[in-house]
């Protein structure tokens, strides 16, 4: 068995892991980042395409939280993690949430002011911008519809940098923080899956991993590290901790933003190359409306949720785009590592209030799309119905049941919460796992509850904060 030694081992290279590695390497610490997935050039594949799904998504995107109804979800599995596959929307954690979490979970040095300081630093480093040019038709749809209805709406910023011609480049971790960490001396090891943490007397004393070589050959690896920071995401961080025998408040209370969708047909062509950045915020914080990836394959799948007769609308796919309504769910789920299995069992239980909110989201999404000029709406309800006017939308209230509603999510959190309240949390206020001197979590698992917005900004700000605390104390 090969061995490797490092001062700090970071497991996972997404928003949490990349920021952690950069902060520690910049401070002169010896850092090694191990990533289960491959290193894929950020420009290698069209965003949201089949090739990207096969190469960069965990399980090719075919994952789900079991429940009634089941909820499909996706995660990145490549160097850079989910920042390589998401739409790059950037939104700071709302102040009212950081205040509420600080009180409920008793989190030190948390709240609007401290987090704003770290967010400002991250934003300056990574590049956060709005569109420099007039929005394309798919972006303008929600603004037009919401304005007509008198609903609040706004363009969200993205982690994008734009050139003088207005061409945007998403600032993924493989383009930004990870190269910087490497320049400061960090080592990134792709295709390396950590299987277990070895513990003794409240310390992690070794890490078992398996590295896959380019020829497909596998090599078992034992890594020695003074400190271990787990940043494998809200599903695989708790799974790894559980496999290693750490279970106190680990894997409980999974939170997410369940999402319903509508494929909307317009009497004119809609662009399909990007994800719209405009959002309807009238129903914040519990309900957000926005745009989804809309390649032809996505449109075909969205149409088929409402009807099996998709040949005619699919022939007109260039006039169709997919939009979503996402809720901040009251329900919760679990991540359970099962003996002998690589992937954990994931469950999620929606409350009746969640189901009602999802129906409300679908109706409001339909209203705004019709106001924007859509002529036909295909909801993510098995059997639809497809509707063409406001009167038709009313049918969805009764149709949006547990048995008919097809749900997805891309935001997962809260499986190893942070804070001094040990009864509710799996780590202290800065991500150190309870009862362990050298084991930390620093990713979306730490968020005590659903963020209501894209969590990347919150994950990066909290990771930056925790890394600074680590440097000050270790």
């Amino acid at each position: 068995m090969a061995t490797m030694t490092t001062e700090v081992l970071v497991i996972g290279s997404g928003a949490g892991g990349a920021v952690t590695a950069t902060r520690l390497a910049d401070a002169g610490r010896q850092v090694t980042v191990v990533e289960e997935g491959p290193w894929v050039d950020a420009d290698a594949y069209e965003p949201f395409s089949l090739d990207e799904m096969v190469t960069k998504y965990r399980h090719r995107g075919l994952q789900g939280a079991l429940g009634n109804p089941a909820i499909g979800y996706v995660e990145g599995r490549c160097v850079g993690g989910s920042t390589e596959i998401n739409s790059g929307l950037y939104h700071r954690l709302p102040d009212y949430l950081s205040e509420a979490w600080q009180k409920k979970y008793d989190i030190d040095e948390f709240g609007p002011e401290p987090l704003a300081r770290y967010a400002t630093q991250v934003e300056a480093e990574i590049g956060v911008s709005t569109l420099p040019t007039a929005p394309p038709p798919s972006f303008a749809v929600l603004e037009r519809g919401a304005t007509k209805l008198g609903w609040r709406n706004m363009e969200f910023a993205r982690v994008f940098r734009y050139d003088q011609a207005g061409r945007g480049t998403k600032q993924t971790m493989s383009r930004t923080f990870l190269p910087r960490a490497m320049a400061a001396g960090a080592t990134v090891v792709p295709n390396c899956r950590v299987t277990r943490l070895e513990r003794h007397a409240g310390r992690v004393v070794g890490i078992r991993a398996q590295r896959t070589h380019p020829d497909g050959g596998r090599e078992n690896l034992r890594i020695h590290a003074e400190h271990v920071v787990v940043c494998a995401g809200a599903i695989h961080t708790p799974a790894l901790l559980q496999r290693s025998g750490i279970r106190h408040n680990v894997g409980h209370g999974l939170k997410m933003h369940p999402t319903v969708k509508i494929a909307a047909r317009f009497p004119y062509p809609i662009d399909h190359g990007d994800v719209p950045t405009h959002r309807v915020t009238e129903f914040d914080p519990h309900l957000t409306i926005g745009g989804s990836a809309s390649l032809k394959g996505h449109i075909a799948m969205a149409l088929a949720e409402a009807t099996h007769d998709i040949a005619e609308p699919l022939a007109d796919w260039e006039n169709i785009s997919v939009y979503y309504a996402a809720i901040r769910s009251e329900g919760a789920g679990r991540v359970i590592a099962l003996p002998g299995m690589k992937s954990p069992l994931v469950t999620y239980k929606l409350t009746e209030a969640d189901m009602s909110r999802l129906a409300q989201g679908l109706v409001h999404l339909g209203e705004v799309l019709l106001a924007a000029g859509a002529t036909e709406l295909y909801p993510s309800l098995t059997g639809g119905p497809v509707v063409r006017d406001l009167e038709g939308i009313g049918q969805w209230w009764d149709r949006a049941t547990r048995g008919n509603t097809n749900l997805q999510t891309v935001h997962l959190f809260s499986t190893v919460r942070m804070g001094n309240n040990r009864a509710l949390t799996g780590t202290d206020s800065f991500g150190r796992v309870w009862d362990h001197a050298n084991l930390y979590v620093n990713d979306g698992s730490l968020l005590p509850d659903a963020s209501g917005v894209n969590p990347q900004a919150a994950i990066m700000a909290i990771a930056s904060r925790n890394a600074e605390h680590f440097l000050a104390t270790r």
Partner: protein
């Protein structure tokens, strides 16, 4: 991919081009192999159950060919039983995504 899973992919496909159908079948096969263990075991169990049922229907002359299977799958997708509905939903989504994203020749077939 088991026998009945291949039958489902063929029944749900709309392309008339054999190369495209083969490519979609390979894509679905790869996706099923990539699934997490627990959901994949669930799909396998359903495949065995549904495949046996369909074979029994065929043996008694109540199901003749892919078109009949397609009608049956449409009915299952509206089932009140979640795992039954989800089984068809997963296969239909994979077939549609594959047909529409794998090759340019598929566009005309699907339309």
């Amino acid at each position: 991919m088991l026998w009945f899973e291949r039958e489902v992919v063929q029944a749900l496909g709309s392309s008339t081009d054999q190369d495209t159908r083969s490519a979609v079948e390979a894509f679905v096969d790869g996706s099923l192999r990539a699934m997490p263990e627990v959901p994949r075991l669930g799909v396998l169990a359903e495949t065995v159950l549904f495949g046996t049922y369909v074979k029994a229907l065929a043996a008694t002359g109540r199901l003749n060919g892919p078109e009949d299977l397609r009608v049956l799958l449409d009915r299952w997708e509206s089932s009140r039983i979640g795992p039954v509905r989800l089984y068809v939903h997963v296969f239909r989504s994979l077939v549609l995504f594959g047909e529409n994203e794998l090759g340019s020749g598929v566009m005309g077939d699907a339309a």
